[in-house]
Amino acid sequence: MIRAEWTKLRTVRGWVAAMAGALLLIVVLATAPGAGGTCDARCALPTGPEGQEVTDSFRFVHRTLTGDGTITARITSFTGTRDAGPDANDPVLVPWAKAGLIVKDGTTPGSPYAAVMLTGAHGVRMQYDYVHDVAGPAGRTGSDGRAAAQWLRLTRTGTTVTAAASPDGTHWTTVGRATPDLPQQVEIGLFATSPQYSEVSTEVFGVTGASGGPSTATAAFDQVRLGGTTATEWRSQQLGGPSSTPETNGPDAAAPVTDGPGPPLPDTGSAEDGGVFTLTGNGDVAPAVSGANGLGFSVTQTLAGTFAGLILVVVVGAMFMTAEYRRGLLGVTVAASPRRGRVLLAKAVVIGGVTAVTGAVAAAIALPLGSRVMRANGLYLNAVSTGTEVRIVLGTAALLASCAVFALAIGTVLRRGAVALTVVLGLTVLPYLLAVSVLPAGVADAVLTVTPAAAFAVQQSAVEYAMVDNLYLPNTGYFPLPPAGGLAVLLGWTAVAFAAALVLLRRRDVR
């Protein structure tokens, strides 16, 4: 039975050409994104201890600590500004602005650390090694509406770092414990930083406007006490900025950052006056994300050809059954094999198998080829793990195969190729196109959760982090469902269509 269906598929020149065309389109369009960039090896982002690309940029006032030790301080004021966009110079603290205590393995961006901090809108938190985030007590506001004084303590004993917070300096609550990979000699001290912010400014059917830009935060620390074997001198620097030369801290002047190759950053610096340290910093200590706030392109763009290949695959899938209706061949097929369920199943196996193989080969060629072309042309690609790449390739193959079977089933139900095609494309390609171009974010997410287009989530290579502010929208590559979930939605639609096709094929006449 399967051999019969396979013979039918491979002897129609047009269908074989269409499958080959799908493979070709996916591979050729993989090279489409690669044009015009200026990055080379120096563009690489630092990598954290757990392998992700990270942003590690903050104002650091620190001493060297050998062995066990502790630092306690009180934050008496925490303010910030947005540095660009329509709200430039507004005195607003962005939600993930951070100021607090940190213990870090040296001053190389990307090295392990543990920190306890007060944030702009998320209270006291402990964060370590870039991707771990533990919530502590909520930030308190004083009578004037601004943040009330907050005591923080960071203690390192052996391999464990403990973070604690207190409202008054006497009653301490532990925020969390961590075991980052720190050597004997570490840098311990105060830090302040404020990340890129982004927000949706207009959200109408037709465009989602976003504004955003860098921001700066200023924090004042007093009652700073250190325990353990520390160096005697404080040093101050802006880590990870265009200029990261360490400077010794003086009693008064702030140390401005010299302009590097990027756009001029607002002045960051630190000052100490009678035991009160004032730090101004910008940047972030978090995983690097792609998109509106992020840097680099994602490898998912190399698979833009999937849509073109999908159309060809869906055409073949629908015609595989509707051609039999059109030519009256179905009568012969059913006479040769009276069990109609098996006919449909054999067709599904053949078309699904051929499409899966075609899709896997195409994606396996397109992904590395497209990545190489993009890098050779100077575009910075966010690194993805091999596991993610394998998931993208296999997921694309599964996506195409399932869409082909879906088209076969809809073709059986509707018996007319053109209408079946319009329905299938309207459910798979059109929702994605609308979601990335004209729909508002909430509607776009809903559409990409419910329709079979949700399956394109298998191609998502960007990771969403709750601790990084970004516009996590479909048009920057963030899908609402996880890859397996999206594929499951498509498989669900396919299963329902297949069941309907089975019932109708058995019941109806062969015309």
Partner: protein, 239 residues
């Protein structure tokens, strides 16, 4: 030609699907546009005329499928041999079908686009402008003619629908993926959907990849090329 026109019109008006298709073009255009203008919260920074006429993005698919079916459906039923027996001059057949498809889509498109503009006028106080509204009706007609040509080339409905919908919908997706701004601009000048829909823009004309009427001209070239290819295919190949 007159006999061919009469024959084609008889086929169209006695086919049960034709009134539904004509209605669907108007309805889909008007419905999507009405949905857009009623869910928007203005003052809008964007081009409200483009927003009002966004229904054309769905109406174009319905028009294309209708036009493909007018010719492709004859291949499916074997009617095409009868048609060519009655009218041996095949190009006359194609021309007659093109004229009637254009007339029907123009009429249906005018109703749909008119209703879309009316909803925009009611909800957003959108003024009438000839170019976007008339241009959108012409856009639907040109897409339908492209579909007719594709059906003649592929001698069937399904593949032609795939080709036309692929051109219209995958074009913008691929255009969005291109990273080089020059390539992106050139691609959008050439892609039928992107270029053709430029006729709807009223704001920020300097930053469009192609000027409005030129964009519609590009789509007209695509439609002409499709019909030409269809004519060649009809004249040379077996039915």
């Amino acid at each position: 030609m007159r006999d061919a026109l009469r024959g084609e019109w008889t086929k169209l008006r006695t086919s049960p699907g034709t009134p539904w298709a004509v209605l669907a073009v108007a309805l889909s255009t008007a419905a999507v546009s009405a949905l857009a203008v009623t869910t928007v919260r203005c003052p809008c920074a964007t081009d409200t005329m483009t927003l009002t006429l966004v229904g054309v993005q769905l109406g174009q698919a319905v028009a294309a499928v209708f036009a493909v079916g007018v010719l492709g459906g004859e291949y499916g039923t074997g009617m095409i041999t009868v048609t060519f027996a009655a009218t041996p001059r095949r190009l006359t057949v194609l021309a007659a079908k093109a004229v009637l498809v254009a007339a029907l889509v123009a009429a249906s498109g005018a109703v749909g686009v008119g209703a879309a503009w009316a909803s925009g006028h009611a909800a957003l106080d959108e003024d009438f402008a000839v170019r976007p509204v008339a241009g959108s009706v012409l856009y639907l007609v040109l897409v339908a003619l492209l579909g007719l040509g594709a059906a003649a080339v592929t001698r069937g409905s399904a593949a032609a629908v795939g080709v036309v919908l692929g051109l219209l919908y995958v074009g913008p997706i691929v255009g969005g993926v291109l990273t080089d701004p020059d390539w992106r601009r050139h691609f959008r000048q050439v892609s039928p959907a992107d270029a053709g829909l430029a006729v709807q823009s009223t704001l920020d004309l300097d930053h469009l990849p192609i000027q409005p009427w030129q964009g519609l001209g590009v789509l007209a070239l695509w439609a002409a090329a499709g019909l030409a290819a269809g004519a060649v295919a009809l004249a040379r190949r077996d039915a």
